[in-house]
Amino acid sequence: MSRFTSTSYGNSPIHRFTHSLIIALWFSLLFFPFKGLEAAGILFVVLFTALFLLNILKRRRVSIKGTITNFKKYFSALKLPESKTRSIALIFLISTVVLTLPLYGHDYLIDIAVLSGIYIILAQGLNVVVGFTGLLNLGFVAFYAIGAYSYALLNTKLGIGFWTSMPLSLAVVTLSGFILAIPALRLRGDYLAIVTLGFGEIVRLVLNNWDSLTKGPNGISGIEPPYLFGMHIGRLSHFYYFILIFVLVAVFIIRRVADSRIGRAWIAIREDEIASSSIGINTTAYKLYSFAFGAFWAGVAGILFAAKMQFVSPESFTFMESVLILCMVILGGIGSIPGVILGAVILVMLPEMLREIQLYRMLALGSGLVMLMIFRPQGLIGGKGQ
């Protein structure tokens, strides 16, 4: 048993050998019933070789960290312009790419970009709740769904257009944010997570089973795209710029709110709720605001989603979606606004670009999550927080 728990490698080759052997054997055995002898055998060989090599590399003190440090030294030796100029250049580059995308990108790329935009808004909304305020919401997809379905219903059943629906839908979503928050407020971290998960699932189940209203699993189709300057925004490239505006507005607003008395109160609540209360912050009210504010943006994303797909069904609003959005927030770095943008873009683009290994996408996501938590919990950019 101790061989599995000890991390010190023995000095002798025999030790290294047996260590790698046992671990490889263990995993192959676990794998064996599921895929058969041949596959298990292959796994064994692969694992054993990999572990053995790693062992040898460790022994020879060839470290990854060392290589990176060397690389950094070479990099800085090249006379690159200083950091401020670099940032401006970077921003300029990214802006150009983003603004001119529809000109050179093919439809598929633009489509993904539009989807990224929607997810950026979603992730920013969740970032306010989880990242700033520290409230773990595992059912965020519920607000997304309510936003999407409310527009879908208003449009298909009552013929209400996009711009008129928007305030109505957003009111409904924000209200549901409040409603969920009220019971959730008294709960500690884990329990809050579960209640929100439950809420998300209940919303999905209702959407799936209330056939008379929501057409159940068949979904609602024939939703109108938004109407602007006298025409429907049907063309993809137009929709791209449409979404871009929303994304910019969302990020802009959220940034301003974060950098204010309200944002500071939220972060204080995340850091220490009792201390926050003891310096005069009405934690109950602010947690409510946080939930409602986050729900608002999920609603925006939902309406945009419905308008783009022109079709909604409960399938798009599963627990996995909530998890995905949470991953975007974590990947980018909890609390960091640019980080979350990056996280959203990566998690939308990556699986699409790796279409060939599509099958293993979820495996990668699962193991990626575990490794991210162990090796870089602060995410790629890392914001104010864990």
């Binding site: 048993m1 019971p183 991210l372 938590m373 919990p377």
Partner: protein
């Protein structure tokens, strides 16, 4: 109708209780909601089918069904316990000192991984459990009870009884309770925390494996996604009884099974899955510490 649903409820409840025990024990020791626990249950179900198929293939089943079944049970339990043990070492142990969010996310990651692992290796369609017992049933209190149901209720009761014995009478059991109460003190009196945690995961996973196997027998088919729903429901049961409390998990499981069956029978079976969520939310709102738990106030 009532007795029928009652029996159904007890059967379901037994299964939920077995899975709930794993949740509650791990939470009691690590304060972690082991999201991946439901997947262990699913693994148990799949492994049961796989091993039984193997034994059938080598002719053991036709030779002696009880023997094949027992071996299947043993192998499923051993493998699932090993999975549980391994998962703890890889995905939770490194995060023992991390903030609460990290192991939770890690657990979600493991859950996703396992679901897709099984989906990729075993296929996305349902896997059938060979029809073993004839659907014979006996008449009991005016309703028919199948042998499978009796089997499930019996096995769960026996296992719960032995677990209780283990926790209260054996040294390891007492060590587990000690660690659940105060980790630091336990290590100071010489209890090996790592070992206790591993044992907890092993036992919890073993129980889940049995639950999975029995469900496979009961319903005749399994699917890689059964872990998620069963997991949520079992977690609800654990919370209902008071998370961290072992008798609570047993009680909560049975109660949940009964509520679900009776509601499905009398109210609506379409929203069957929703009842667990609704109960969960209600409990967490009214008394988060559950029926047997203690309200914990934060010390200032």
């Amino acid at each position: 109708m009532f007795t029928q649903q009652l029996i159904n409820g007890l059967t379901l409840g037994g299964v939920y209780a077995l899975i709930a025990l794993g949740y509650t024990m791990v939470y009691g020791i690590l304060e972690l909601i082991n999201f991946a626990h439901g997947e262990i249950y699913m693994l148990g179900a799949y492994l049961g089918i796989i091993f039984l198929a193997f034994f059938t293939a080598i002719g053991l089943t036709s030779y002696s069904l009880p023997l094949a079944l027992i071996l299947t049970f043993i192998l499923s339990v051993v493998f699932c316990s090993s999975y549980g043990f391994t998962i703890e070492k890889i995905a939770y142990k490194p995060l023992r000192n991390a903030p609460r969010l990290s192991p939770l996310i890690s657990a979600i990651g493991v859950s996703i991984f396992l679901q897709n692992y099984v989906m990729l290796t075993q296929g996305a369609s349902d896997k059938i459990f060979p029809h073993l017992f004839e659907k014979t049933s006996i008449e009991l209190m005016g309703t028919s009870v199948t042998y499978t149901q009796i089997f499930i209720i019996a096995v769960s009761t026996v296992l719960m009884f032995f677990l209780n014995l283990f926790i209260t009478k054996t040294r390891t059991g007492k060590a587990m309770r000690a660690v659940a109460q105060d980790k630091m003190m336990s290590s100071l009196v010489g209890i090996n925390i790592d070992t206790v945690i591993s044992v907890t995961f092993i036992i919890g996973s073993g129980l889940a494996a049995v639950a999975g196997l029995m469900v496979a027998i009961y319903y005749g088919l399994v699917n890689y996604s059964i872990g998620y729903i069963a997991g949520i429901k079992a977690f609800t049961a654990a919370v209902l009884g008071g998370i961290g409390s072992i008798p609570g998990a047993m009680f909560g499981g049975i109660l949940l099974g009964l509520v679900e069956s009776l509601s499905a029978g009398y109210i609506s079976s379409e929203y069957k899955d929703a009842y667990a969520f609704v109960i969960l939310i209600i409990i967490l709102l009214i008394k988060p510490s559950g029926l047997f738990g203690k309200t914990q106030e934060e010390k200032v």
